[in-house]
Symmetry: D3
Subunit: 189 residues, 6 copies
């Protein structure tokens, strides 16, 4: 038996407020993105191919029926289909993701999307507080062609070069040894 549930946002995300960027509007009928040239200039968004060469395939992305690999530390997987993968999304202000959760506490860890609001429908299993007890599959719509993602723990403890441990110790009320230990764990993440 299947059960479809619907949430605007993973509950945990509420703790971080909603992201709130809105992409600029399109200025023509078609502006399908092209792969970025190496060693070259870029623009806000993407360069596009000749609109007369637009084909239906520019707006189609196969393979979302394949479950993502949840065999990792957090037991979850996000397959994001943004403008880098589906060129037709360029200038259209929307993208989509498939989320897979492993049973026994598969978790999509706390994160924010700096350029999009997310809306989520659970199509298999059940999610509670971002955690799945059984296999779960959800699909999310995001209000940007390129929502971005900031996974909090990785952004805090994982960057290279690392953030000064004194800063993190004071900010998180940890001692320096605890911070350095976490930085080692996330450096390999």
């Amino acid at each position: 038996m299947k059960s479809f549930h619907f949430l605007v946002l993973l509950s945990l995300a509420l703790a971080f407020s909603f992201a709130s960027a809105f992409d600029p509007s399109p200025l023509q009928d078609f502006c399908v993105a092209i792969p970025e040239p190496k060693n070259a200039v870029f623009v806000n968004g993407k360069f596009c191919k000749n609109p007369n060469l637009t084909v239906a395939e520019d707006f189609f992305f196969p393979g979302l029926n394949v479950p993502g690999n949840t065999g990792n530390r957090v037991g979850s997987n996000v397959t994001l289909v943004n403008v880098d993968k589906l060129f037709g999304l360029n200038t259209l202000g929307i993208s989509l993701a498939r989320l897979d959760f492993a049973p026994n506490d598969g978790l999509n860890p706390p994160h924010t999307h700096p350029r999009a609001t997310e809306i989520l429908v659970v199509v298999e299993g059940t999610l509670y507080f971002n955690i799945a007890k059984t296999n779960a599959v959800a699909f999310a719509g995001l209000s940007s062609q390129n929502p971005g993602v900031i996974t909090i723990a990785n952004a805090i403890f994982g960057p290279n070069p690392p953030i000064n441990p004194d800063v993190l110790a004071k900010a998180f009320q940890l001692n320096n040894d605890e911070v350095v230990k976490l930085q080692k764990l996330f450096a390999n993440a």
Copy 2:
């Protein structure tokens, strides 16, 4: 066996170009819509309740696991979850819909969304040119809290009061009798 497919937009919609409005950005953390008062003033968007009274349920909509009733002329059903149904969507620039298609040519007829781009994932069955041969279920994300919908045939032949038949005859290369017949059919739609 299940098959998930993904399309940016129903193929037919391509014939009508993409909708391209983007909602204004939020100006505070919470602005959960309240039901409109009768005989009263309105604003662009929605009035909101006191943000201190925001609860998790404002962002949750149950029941999307229930199939829509496709026992109608076109053999399809759209369950739209916009800000009128899910008050938490207010100012967040996104909404969601469940689409059900009956087997044997269930069809979501040609339409546009004047205030949103649509992204669509097929979670059961197969869609081809907006038509399903078997049962099909899809979910769509839309880039507005209130995307609006203009079903072309209804907007042309169904409004009350009706559009002048001479206009429609000339525009659609039909004769007046054909137009009047269509207007009768759609007036009851």
Copy 3:
């Protein structure tokens, strides 16, 4: 005797709701569009010429005193002055059109502008429900540098390749022969 009337939108257009995109704001004083290079990349909107080379002529378009040719099936003509014709409009979020109507039911057929609101002033003759009994001339302002246009009947029955006739028959409550006949008529439009 002349009579100037003013309408926000052609009456018929009301049946299709308002278009509602707004162009992104300019980011500099001058960004006059340049003709698109062949076989080359594009951007959302237009590339611009060196702002130091901006001249007054970039913002001037002559010839709107010449009536458009209304000797066609619908008895109307639209002369659109968008960024493709007047390069100075780039990034400015506005364009203009001259509309000519032949006497005896000259008609601007039902259409939408996916990226603009339209405002219209009748400067000669009278329009009623988008139809002119005498010669009529109107000017329209549109809130995009490139409003786009979707003429409904052409988009439904005229695309190449054509839309599956089964889809149109079901959507418009026509039989397949009627659809195929219309598709032939509009294929030559």
Copy 4:
């Protein structure tokens, strides 16, 4: 003989750069403005009436065939049709103006629109550098429901209370007597 000319902007306006605000997008099909209540609260834009009470007249403004009175110091008249006069413009991001110029140097003095780009078509007579040698009539589209206007000379020399004459003397390289004289002239404007 009539001559229609077309300019993006009155030439003089070029000296002040383009205005560049874009109104927020609509969030529903209809949001017709209502007159502001006295002694009451306001919103960004306008409150709207119940959308179910929308009528065609909300989008129609008669009387633009009547020439404006150009019997004033500058020999010109602007009839602006913004959301304060035509309630249907609310949330639609566009407005319109009729401009009348008297012969012999009728002038629309240097001004800016802080919330709109302006596009202009000359429908009678000829304009050169914002000045008419004969009677002239133009229509302008503006990309906001409420473009605003800052007539430079009035804003500088005419406000009540007046700007400190020392400031204006220094800014405009005038002496204090010249400034005070101008302030008297514009105080009665």
Copy 5:
């Protein structure tokens, strides 16, 4: 001796990407916010007072010469002047903050502003990686009337009701005891 330095963003903020919301544009000359009524409705942004009652004081905020109290755990203080404090900011898309840092590692802990980009100028002392060795004062401009703030550590470990410790343990590679200890520390923050 004074030294003014200038940074776009506190260095640490780079780890979290830039915030990217942009407020909707104003639709009139003045829309000065009014205090929200108790038990009443709200709008996206603020209700405004009668524009004819606008006074110069609506746009002035005194007291930014007074140092903020940095006698707290992190040794820093932020005095934010947003639309809740300075009503004239309503619809204008900008706000300002004074930041004070105590000597010996005064720290503004990692945070994001969900609705604004921040630009910062150091007017006294020196900041390095968000940390001050001596007294330091900075001013920041933020591109929203109400930027919002999410202090990461507080949002993760401090909310009431608390986030499920299992989620945080897994997300941050801590054990449950460590999480519960942090939750106690931040619950009192």
Copy 6:
């Protein structure tokens, strides 16, 4: 003794209404501007360098501790740090300026920013009506990466080629000799 004051806008600017453009949102994490190529094409905003080559220095601008030279006719100096000087500001919708005022009526003459709202904090001395009696220093945040500036007196009397003196005489209630004298003074400004 120091005194920090805070104003949303220089008082005089109120006479000209608020500028009200808002930059389009970013569509990726980094889009650091690159210097414009000579004889080449441009875009709305700036081309960006490869985001993988982003460095911290792209977001840092030194030297704002150096007072601007106020030894000029108006006794003031504006050091604007926009995207042309600080490439990291590209797509971020904000910029900053240092304003220096000489004692004895140092004046920042009446001007508008066509693409930004300005917020201002006085960090040294006192400003009254845009005029300083003693040395004064202020910092301003502006809500665009490239706010633009129109100094009214220069835009009216200083452009090359000059505005027709008849226009200015009529608009400003001056005689032609007075206009020509002012045009000579500002032509050398």
